[in-house]
Symmetry: C2
Subunit: 443 residues, 2 copies
């Protein structure tokens, strides 16, 4: 195999594996080499284990030889470190969990990857506790943008974005409670899918919010998202947040694409321009664009309510550490949780009602068209040390509140410009329709 | 028409209307007469308006003559008084709302009934605020069992159960957060359906809990539930709790029916015996019964967590009245809400996690079979003044927590015995399968 294969999409790698141009063992070994080279500057991984990954890769090659290939046979997937993978501790990027025992079982998502023949490369860096979107992790070190040390890859799935963009894995799992898959996909110039609520079981993940959490995928092509989603999705009776989602088949023909006005969210000019070109590309392919009114609710209101819900649930998820080892939480996280600890049950119910308002806004937009196009984030990647924008998740959090699928795809920008992402947002179950449109736009 | 038609099921009434054997005006007038006769002893309604109902009934007859019949043309439906019906105030059985202005709009469910040609007879009695299951309402008077004054019809939709059993309407709407449709259906010897979560939009109802509330139907036959459900169901983009539910078609052939063991819930012998005969009837029709383990979680734990979630959400729903007119809440309700007012956001999140445990228990039972059979309530109707059993909702609340459909059907009992209900519980979307099985058992 050539080194270029590492930066191909997983679908192309799958074909190369099928043709015998490479093996799982070779692909895995090369990725591990790349990870080791990149760790000092990118720090995309919190943990990896060369020996274990190579054992799994050789087992995959043996499976292919003996029984033929499973759907993801030999692909090398990296996992955000808030999802259990048996044998690795699950840190969630938190110091409190640094010395935890290794997870005894895979999360449902990781188990489904392994059952489909994938090799698990290791555990990816993330924003502390998956609550925040710059991945400036004080306990495991910041994760850096693969294009420039000192720049954020976004978050909270920053390691996932950096590893996919930096050609350190075939594809990656992330989680997304307010935008945590799509924001790093946007900043890093890759594809990210937050599926319909519950389509991928979150069992075996560290909870941020059971209402808002979604397990998602980051990849180098839209078709890769379409390859991984059906493997990962499926009803999990052991998980109250799992849903039996019947994916609508991708349709053909022109679509009515709604574009909610950007009013009320401060958007960088470079994002505005790239997004306008993205809309032009949709028009050029025959789709009808429908101007929709701006959000009736101030996006900051939805974001703040979402944060209270997350923080209150995290007080439960991390109750033992909060009681016994509070000093191991970063001051930023401790401040947020302490604030939420002073809130009442009625405050929680009130915040959850605000999420309902955001869900209704999203549903009403979607009722006027086939799907929505919107920017993913209001800004491009920024340097650590500059002020973190408060509005990073203002375009992404509505889809979490509504439980509808949302995909971020990179827009064409100049070679030296920072990537800009466009979101495609559909109704529940329209995940593969979003994938098909993103594929058509990039094929 | 004969007086007996008032006690026929809605499907038979629909056929009589289609054959011209009666008219909406006649049916409505006879029901209003029956309501007036029954009010002193049963007190099933909080409000009704003869003139308005007769205008609507004549309009239905005119519609039939001019344009043909809509699906529920001329049927006379009564509405639990926590669902808006334009022109009626929505009291939710609460003194705080006794002087509220009339609702300006129909709730989504009532609007769908009207659009299908139904006549709205009036508003039904309920347990105060729909939180409680004996309908001993201190503000609007107790609703009594139509068979004996002084006995509870169950609750919180006690007026719905009494009106259907007492032949005061063609069918009734209820709401069900922990069992409030099924318990009165069981006590009153009628059929009640709590559909899949969100299948019927709860928009325009007084919230108990957005997670647990379900709009449901009470009727005198299973086929009536199958008649009304498709009219009432449908995605409502203006409601965050609405869901696009694709109902699975009723299948044919023998089913695997799971029966969770009754351990941990104190069940009256008469209920146990009737339920055993219900299982015999299932076996006799060729269905396979599968013994399932008892609930891993103590049912009281689920019930108590559900109550906290409801109470905290009610503090938000009734915030203005709680602040300004607290003395108008009954001492019992005020005590519950005051308790919840002292709970924290984390307590709410912790209780909601308990609901998740209950949901998983239900999902795991359902994953072992096609559907479940279980008693509806551990006891039959009891006299007011005796101790209200704490476990009334222990068999019903699990389906609310899991969001799965559950139907209560009357079991055969001696003519002078109090009715006993059996629940059939399915997976999300299996509503019409439950209806078909209940129909087959009673046809």
């Amino acid at each position: 195999m050539t080194e270029a294969l590492l930066n191909d999409d997983a679908t192309a790698q799958r074909e190369a594996l099928a043709r015998g141009e490479t093996t799982a063992a070779e692909l895995t070994a090369r990725y591990l080499d790349a990870i080791e080279r990149a760790q000092p500057t990118v720090n995309a991984l919190i943990a990896f284990d060369r020996d274990r990954a190579m054992v799994d890769a050789r087992a995959s090659d043996a499976h292919r030889a003996a029984h033929g290939a499973r759907p993801l046979e030999g692909l090398a997937i990296a996992i955000k470190d808030n999802l259990d993978a048996a044998g690795f501790r699950t840190t969630a990027g938190m110091a409190t969990r640094r010395d935890a025992p290794p997870a005894p079982h895979d999360s449902t998502a990781v188990a489904r990857l392994r059952a489909a023949g994938a090799v698990i490369l290791g555990k990816l860096n993330l924003h502390e506790a998956a609550l925040g979107a710059d991945n400036h992790n004080p306990h495991f070190g910041a994760c850096h943008h693969p294009r420039r040390h000192g720049v954020t890859p976004g978050g909270s799935s920053g390691g996932s974005g950096a590893a996919v963009a930096g050609a350190l894995c075939s594809a990656a799992l992330g989680t997304d409670s307010m935008g945590s898959v799509r924001i790093p996909a946007s900043y890093c110039g890759v594809f990210g899918l937050k599926p319909t609520y519950g389509a991928i079981s979150p069992r075996g993940s560290v909870v941020v919010s059971r209402r808002l959490d979604h397990v998602g995928v980051l990849a180098r092509s839209a078709r890769d998202l379409g390859l991984l989603l059906p493997v990962l999705a499926g009803f999990d009776p052991a998980c109250a947040e799992s849903r039996a989602v019947a994916f609508a088949p991708p349709g053909a023909g022109p679509l009515r694409i709604g574009v909610p006005a950007l009013d009320g969210i401060e958007v960088q000019p470079v994002v505005r321009e790239a997004f306008a070109r993205g809309l032009d590309a949709l028009r050029a392919r025959g789709h009808a664009l429908v101007d929709l009114p701006p959000s009736r609710m101030e996006p900051g209101k939805a974001r703040r309510a979402g944060l209270l819900v997350c923080e209150a649930e995290m007080l439960v998820e991390h109750a033992a550490d909060w009681a016994a080892r509070r000093e191991r939480f970063s001051p930023a996280l401790a401040t947020m949780l302490a604030w939420a600890a002073g809130k009442s049950a009625a405050d929680f119910a009130r915040a959850d009602r605000v999420l309902d308002e955001a869900a209704v806004q999203m549903q009403q937009w979607l009722s006027a068209c086939d799907l929505l196009a919107w920017p993913t984030a209001p800004q491009v990647a920024f340097a650590f040390g500059t002020l973190v924008p408060a509005n990073q998740a203002d375009f992404t959090c509505f889809a979490n509140m509504a439980g509808v699928p949302a995909l971020s795809m990179p827009l064409p920008v100049d070679a030296d410009a920072w990537p800009v992402g466009m979101q495609l947002i559909g109704r529940a179950g329209d995940d593969l329709r979003l994938v098909a449109l993103a594929h058509a736009l990039t094929a």
